[in-house]
Amino acid sequence: MADGGARAIVAAGVAGIIVYAFPGYLSTDSIDQLAQARAGEYGDWHPPVMAALWHGVEIVVTGPLGMLVLQVTCFVVGAYLLLARVLAPRTAALVAVAIAWLPPIACELAVIWKDSQMAGYALLGVAFVGDSRRGARAAGLVLLGLASAMRYNAAALTLPIVLLAYAPPVHGARRLAIATVMWVAITGGAAAANRLLADRHEHPWQQSVAMMDLAGIARWSHADDRELAAALEGTPLRDASQIRERAQARYRPHWMWSEIWDDGGLFRPARDDTELDAITRAWRELVVAYPRAYLHHRWRMTRELLQVPGTYASDSAYVWFTDVQDLAGSARRSKHDAAPSRVQQLLQPAALWLGDSVWFAPWWYAVLSLVMLVFARRDRTAFALLAGGVLCELTLCFAAPTPDARYSLWLFVATAVGGALVVARRVRPA
């Protein structure tokens, strides 16, 4: 892989993040997935492939550590392999570690999340798909498939990567055709794997994004209560009266879960297929009837997601070993608990402080990516990374249930690695 010095730097880079995160931070989602991994029964709210992978990892090591080592190692090694194409091994290792230790990246990699898993596999996959060896390219596609299975919007990041960076030994239209087939295969394969593994369907779109969109449309449309009540008939409305007034009073784009989870919210979770169908129907009807209200709501959400100045933007770093909403209870349920080391006790407040800073604001990574796309037009890998980051973020404009910095992890990664490739090529032309 590298000369001794580079290898040691990469190992130190991995170890550094593991020291910060050991044995791995767990949120509500992570605890749910750990429970599913242990039970061997998967729901589709979170990617079943990740829970199944965790189940496999738990054969060797229990708790979050195995997944933490996987995602961090894949990430740092992937970043190193990519950068080693244009930089000397030692420099590439140093830059890769510096990227991995960037607060918005390290803080997200420290948590066992689908986003972090996706970033790790995707980055190593990018490094492999451009390799001249057939085996490495195949491994790269498998890794990109694994990344695809981790998040519903991963197809947006794998598309430019496979189309541009995948390097079979043919050129021109044939290469593009093969790459397209490969992308369809890994995307379809990932979806099929998730579908096959899921033991129960939890309808995440209807139970989150769709209802939040309905609440947003109710807030921003000019529809009166009668029209809204008619459109929302059959949906799990808590109270069919004063819909617009309540939607206006409670609308909080930085935390739309309150529309579903709180007693005062417009909706409660759907309980049966009839309600789920009603949500789908109401969403279609209202989006078509009030497209401006829908787009305005999504724009408000996107502003929060990008943390543009003037928005709520906070709590982007997560530093708890069990579910922060119920630390003791989740420790008991998951039969897992951990205490911070003294180094972690120093780093955690720093991470939380940085989490509220501009370091974690995706908007300027998005701007930077768009600018660098221009300079990356002659470097397929860098262009693919940057384009993937922007595309992935664009999908969130319409699909993010609520703003969360981790959703933008790939944008951070793509900007940092893609940017480093662009700069390195300019400093040291091939």
Binding site: F22, E58, V60, T62, G63, K335, D337, A338, A339, S341
Partner: protein, 433 residues
């Protein structure tokens, strides 16, 4: 397409291309995974509590608690100690064995011996005995090195070992002799220098322990002297007024005919006496101990002999394997909880099966130590190891404070290392060049 033989050859070639360091690392990580994040007994949990709070007592080896406290800077919980004690063991064993074996063979033997269930079982638990074994091997390897810095590191390892179990001091003399250059003549001179080094390291360990301890509970003294006093008096059927000590129930003092657990004698509703709490009581207990030995030496010798027979696994076989992550309620305040992986569950089953065999009886290793000493007589590093193991076992005769397999672990580990190394060295290609 490659056929199976070709594939197997490729795998073999790949394995052959691994360096000793890679083999050691892989073996070390595998051994850690077999018991990750490390087993915790009641004592280990209490010690972790002290390491974290910074309030040290002498109930648990304060030097070890200090090391644990330092480890907690980087990783919290038992994992860093597990990594430390197994790492010292495997890399220390490699450092010694590479003098007798080729580097690859030494690496494989070091990992193999650590994974051997009779050696592995105590190493998986965060105990002073496990850290001591690792520190002693690391000390031996470092003292064998010609570099001055390594010799200093060896002395530090001896301090840690002595801090874990103060009674190990005499058993470190053979290891200390490894530090002396071969050119140094005169057996007495060599022995004198080795003793001086051991005395210095033990003194430093004692001093560090004294500095670290906030509350003196006279733990070491109580563990040893209460069982000796009560065990001797019971065997001699003799009462003793024991001035200065609080005997709760004089009738119970002479009930039964042995005493092997100081905690039971001084705690709970069936206790015989109250634990000592100050210097005056400490002196009174020492006086009672001296008096019991002087007045009833035969009974004392029988008591210690019977304890040793139990320790060797001759008269009362016991369960020698401890593999628990600790009581969740006890650990709740320390925020540590773990569950075993499938790999660990399978490995536990294997260890438990092996524990049913004589391989977990220290007597076997006392017997095997004899041929080991004879066969290793020309290899000073191996001879030093097995001599140290035997001496530590002999020390148990007057100083063992209860019956526990882990007290014989150093003997077991050294006999395994030496015999396996000697067996491997029979093949010329695997010998050190």
């Amino acid at each position: 397409m490659m056929d199976l033989r070709e594939r197997a050859n490729r795998v073999r070639a790949w394995l052959a291309a691994r360096t000793p360091r890679q083999l050691l690392l892989a073996g070390w990580v595998t051994c850690i995974l077999l018991c990750y994040p490390g087993y915790l007994s009641f004592d280990s949990i209490e010690q972790l509590g002290q390491a974290r709070s910074g309030h040290f007592t002498d109930a648990y080896a304060p030097v070890m608690t200090g090391v644990w406290s330092l480890c907690e800077w980087i990783f919290a919980g038992p994992f860093p100690m597990l990594a430390l004690q197994t790492g010292l063991f495997v890399f220390g064993a490699y450092g010694v064995l590479k003098r007798a074996l080729s580097p690859r063979a030494a690496a494989v033997v070091a990992v193999g011996v650590l994974a051997a269930p009779p050696v592995f079982a105590p190493m998986a638990v965060i105990w002073p005995d496990s850290l001591m074994a690792g520190a002693l091997l690391a000390a031996a390897a470092a003292l064998l090195d010609e570099r001055r810095a390594m010799k200093a590191a060896g002395a530090v390892a001896l301090v840690i070992a002595g801090g874990c179990r103060p009674e190990v001091a005499p058993a470190t003399i053979p290891l200390a002799m490894l530090a002396l250059p071969a050119s140094l003549s005169g057996r007495l001179r060599r022995a004198g220098l080795a003793v001086a080094l051991v005395v210095a390291c033990s003194g430093v360990a004692r001093l560090v322990g004294w500095i670290l301890v906030d509350d003196d509970t006279y733990a070491w003294q109580q563990r040893l002297e209460w069982i000796d006093v009560v065990g001797t008096l019971r065997r001699a059927h003799a009462d003793d007024p024991m001035p200065g000590l609080t005997v709760v129930d004089r009738a119970r003092l002479l009930e039964g005919h042995d005493a092997y657990d100081a905690y039971v004698l001084t705690h709970g509703p069936k206790r015989v006496a109250e634990p000592i709490a100050d210097d005056a009581q400490s002196e009174a207990l020492s006086a009672a101990w001296h008096a019991a030995i002087a007045d009833h030496f035969g009974a004392y010798a029988t008591h210690r002999g019977e304890l040793m027979l139990r320790q060797l696994g001759i008269t009362h076989p016991w369960l020698p394997v401890f593999d628990d992550f600790g009581d969740p309620d006890h650990l709740m305040l320390l925020h540590h909880r773990a569950t075993p992986s499938d790999l660990e569950i399978a490995w536990r089953a294997i260890v438990h099966v092996v524990a049913l065999t004589p391989l977990f009886r220290p007597l076997l290793y006392v017997l095997l130590a004899i041929p080991a000493i004879v066969l290793a007589r020309r290899r000073r590093e191996l001879l030093a190891l097995v001599a140290s193991g035997v001496m530590y076992e002999i020390i148990q005769l007057p100083l063992a404070s209860s019956v526990d397999y882990r007290f014989s672990h150093w003997l077991v580990a050294t006999v395994w290392l030496v015999l396996v190394a000697l067996a491997v060295a029979r093949k010329p290609a695997w010998r050190a060049s």
